[in-house]
Assembly symmetry: none
Homo-oligomer: 228 residues x 4
Amino acid sequence: MPGTPKGKAAETGETGETSGAGEGAAPRRRQARGERRVSQLLAAAAGVFCRTGYAAASTNAIAREAGVSPGTLYQFFPNKEAIAVELGGQLLQQAHEMHGQAFLPENLQRPLPELLDAVLDPVIAFNCENPAFWALMHGSGIPGAIDQEHWKLHSSLLGRIESVLHTFCPESSPAELAHTSNMILGIFKASLDLILVHEGAEREAYIAELKTVLLRYLDPMITTPHSG
Amino acid sequence: MPGTPKGKAAETGETGETSGAGEGAAPRRRQARGERRVSQLLAAAAGVFCRTGYAAASTNAIAREAGVSPGTLYQFFPNKEAIAVELGGQLLQQAHEMHGQAFLPENLQRPLPELLDAVLDPVIAFNCENPAFWALMHGSGIPGAIDQEHWKLHSSLLGRIESVLHTFCPESSPAELAHTSNMILGIFKASLDLILVHEGAEREAYIAELKTVLLRYLDPMITTPHSG
Amino acid sequence: MPGTPKGKAAETGETGETSGAGEGAAPRRRQARGERRVSQLLAAAAGVFCRTGYAAASTNAIAREAGVSPGTLYQFFPNKEAIAVELGGQLLQQAHEMHGQAFLPENLQRPLPELLDAVLDPVIAFNCENPAFWALMHGSGIPGAIDQEHWKLHSSLLGRIESVLHTFCPESSPAELAHTSNMILGIFKASLDLILVHEGAEREAYIAELKTVLLRYLDPMITTPHSG
Amino acid sequence: MPGTPKGKAAETGETGETSGAGEGAAPRRRQARGERRVSQLLAAAAGVFCRTGYAAASTNAIAREAGVSPGTLYQFFPNKEAIAVELGGQLLQQAHEMHGQAFLPENLQRPLPELLDAVLDPVIAFNCENPAFWALMHGSGIPGAIDQEHWKLHSSLLGRIESVLHTFCPESSPAELAHTSNMILGIFKASLDLILVHEGAEREAYIAELKTVLLRYLDPMITTPHSG
DNA sequence: TATGAATGAGTGTTCATTCAT
DNA sequence: TATGAATGAACACTCATTCAT
């Protein structure tokens, strides 16, 4: 459970729970405050990362944005990277769940246009609601752990795309599949940039455009009845 | 007061040369040497920016790479940003020339496949030869002036794409043209990333793929005889 | 104003107990628990001081080692220095008791070799069993109060040595006595370092060597029948 | 050449030495200033290390003591440890030279009392003139490089003592030699502490006392004609 | 004109100490 | 009483920028 204070503080045992009635509200309170702080800090970090990128974000700035002192930040996170890792990790988990739903087997049987809707809509929606996710996953030259997360997400997405693609174009060579998947992911990312900086009808227009691009790119490649 | 940043204070520009009549050889020498220094520094900066990105590049590192002292660097550039602006500007000018050739009127009359070749090949070649250009134009969280350069390049490209597109699809609304142009540019950038990180046959494959995507995306939109 | 150091503000000492008459059991309990806590904390501090030295020992580490929160630690000790002072004081008292036994008048009548055995053996044993004592008493750059403890121990030992020496060499000048006593104490400390870092036979060898050194050093000085 | 500024700045070659007459004074001046700063900083560090020990010495305090900004310190030393290493190294070299002279073969032939004078006097003198040496070589738990230096000095001294001892007591077992050498070194260190905190006649008295201790300790062990 | 020493505010991080609960 | 979150000054170290030479 990352984001939890680091101290050992094993229940000392001898403090003796004087109240006979079962509860746990008092300790809950404590943890509750800590968890609120963690959330505050992560939210502040999300904001700062979004505005300045990971490298230029200073821990003091994050603490200031969260309205706490630098020391407080370090009571919950051992270092700057851990903040990004935790933030990225939380979002990543949600993203994985999203992707799990998006790439549901039943979706993959459908004709291409429906499949694109089924896959892209939740992913886009998630990114619109969590712009920090995108900011973090952009990073290049970012230290170890967070880059690994970035890489894991990238590979995971690429793998899913490749496998779907394989069911559509069973005759394609692995190299072709790799090229196409990379292009799809690249196109998606580029479009997501456009989608995120627009709102309302404009955003919808770019979403439609993305689907058009992918549909036209992929339709001629399909060699199975999916497209029917 | 040493160590105090002194704001932007950009050179007033244009390098002046108020004296039309030829002067002695000595000043020429000076200027020649100065220009050599500037080139040295810009080349060094290009290298450092490519390797580490703008934010992480230190002026001392650039000076060291150029083989001069930090003081010397500041004799030619008022601050770090100015180096990026100048470098970006020079590359931008070359890019504009490239684009001028790429978007030659005679090219724009040709059928789409040929047009894509004619336009994309030189632009891609330029970027492969000047990776610093791409590194600089990627900028996130980069200060004002250089972002303006980025924006200028972006708008310029967008304008050109839009105008070509207009000759292909005269009935499209301005909004539609804008969406499509933005998508084209986005797709181009995403593909360029893939192209730049690969070499040889792989690179060629991604170039081909880019053309395929754009061809399939644009072909159905064309309402003039170009596509024939 | 949290986070502000509040100076030395040592407990006024003596723990007071103004009420001579016995009170209820509850306060007793409290005190008993408190004393247990103090012992816990001192034991933890002894461990941490031994492992890392006084300066590098953090109060949080001591609290953690004792299994309590930092706040609890500060309920019993006003500051870090007070912990060292208390620990040093307790050990010092035990040391004094040891020394009292070691420097028993009956021992001082014996011939030098026996006297050295009688005096050194318990002192060495005590230090082997309480390595924290030595770690604390080594102090360099350690703050005032604890250095005072160090000094008190040092003077006390020096005084005892000097007085014994006086019975052996009644004709020596006070200055000579002081020099010799200081040398003896220095030799003892240096040897103790060697004794503490070795074990088993090696340790015994260094103990023997210490006695040899002192014996040879002192024997020629003795002007009374002790040495016979 | 430690302590020299870190920059690469290879002679640029094209700056062209316009003065025909051979010199090099101008660049000398530059280096001279730097070297003066290095000396200043090392002197300041020596003072701070002496007063507070290595661990508690802060780089900012050293810079302040030297009258420069923290940045300046870091222009000449890459980190705190390097300062100690450089300071220790310089003193160590001088110490080694001293020891070389002190342990001259011709000295080792002499009778023990003269040998003790010949060996101890220069070593003591050196330490009196360079108290920082002793402060640095005391450290325990000090980071890698400097502890290694400490260890190297310790071993070197121990080795020299052991070899001299071997010529005096050829029948002693290696274990006995090791014990005796360690005791000698320990006694020397303990006495040096006393010597350094005293001055004038007192200091001389402790020097004499040290020689007495060693003479009486070693004389009975000698099995060769040296002692005659 | 070139050098490189100098600056000082800034960074990430730690830790003795305090305070609300 | 015990907790652990909170504080803020300090530390080691960096870097854009300036200035004496």
